[in-house]
């Protein structure tokens, strides 16, 4: 009985996280901001779902497979987010690195010094 209640609470939290993240993806203006709301759905909610299945089933084959799926998502999520931001920046600026002339270091660029 307590297991069921605990699992229900975890599932409710997971659904809440996914619903709010989905609204965030819809409402935010640009892709950089939208990407912030992918992380809760890709990391936090799967962890809650896995925990709910673990609480419901105990240490069982199904739980193991869910943990495996969670593991892949935990590895893939941050890597994909980074790759996506990099791709968006390359599309916008032509290169993902900061340009020397745009960095405010307090020192003038080498070309300006020579003049």
């Amino acid at each position: 009985m307590i297991r069921d209640i605990f699992a229900d609470v975890l599932l409710g939290l997971a659904v809440l996280v996914v619903l709010s993240a989905s609204v965030g993806v819809l409402v935010m203006r640009d892709a950089y901001q939208k990407l912030h709301f992918v992380t809760p759905a890709a990391l936090v909610a799967p962890a809650l779902v896995t925990l709910a299945i673990f609480v419901q089933m105990g240490l069982y084959e199904n739980t193991g497979e869910t943990i495996l799926a969670l593991l892949f998502m935990v590895i893939a999520g941050p890597y994909l987010s980074h790759a996506t931001i990099r791709a968006i920046r390359v599309r916008e600026k032509g290169d993902w690195r900061l340009r020397q002339s745009t960095v405010k270091t307090g020192n003038a660029p080498a070309e300006e010094k020579e003049q």
Binding site: K34, F37, N62, L68, A69, F72, A83, A87
Partner: protein
């Protein structure tokens, strides 16, 4: 059938709708972000439905999709960066 898991899966499928709107109507980069969001949610939906209907064999689907999410996401991102 465990009702809570099926209900959670249904609620998460509803949560796909706003991201689907972005996927359909948004800019190209926003569509890729929405695609990544939807894939993550579908992995959970598959796991929840497998648990809800008590089918052990269906638990392989979320594992497979989680692996494919990584590969397909990188393919889309690379195409976005270079060709699209």
């Amino acid at each position: 059938m465990v009702m809570a898991f099926v209900a959670a899966a249904t609620a998460m499928m509803i949560a796909i709708i706003p991201a689907g709107i972005v996927l359909y109507r948004g800019e190209l980069v926003a569509s890729v972000v929405a695609y990544e969001f939807i894939t993550s949610v579908v992995v959970m939906v598959l796991a929840l439905l497998a648990q809800g209907f008590q089918r052990s064999s269906l638990f392989e689907l979320p594992v497979l999709l989680a692996v494919l999410m990584f590969g397909s996401g990188l393919v889309f991102v690379r195409a976005l960066e270079r060709w699209l």
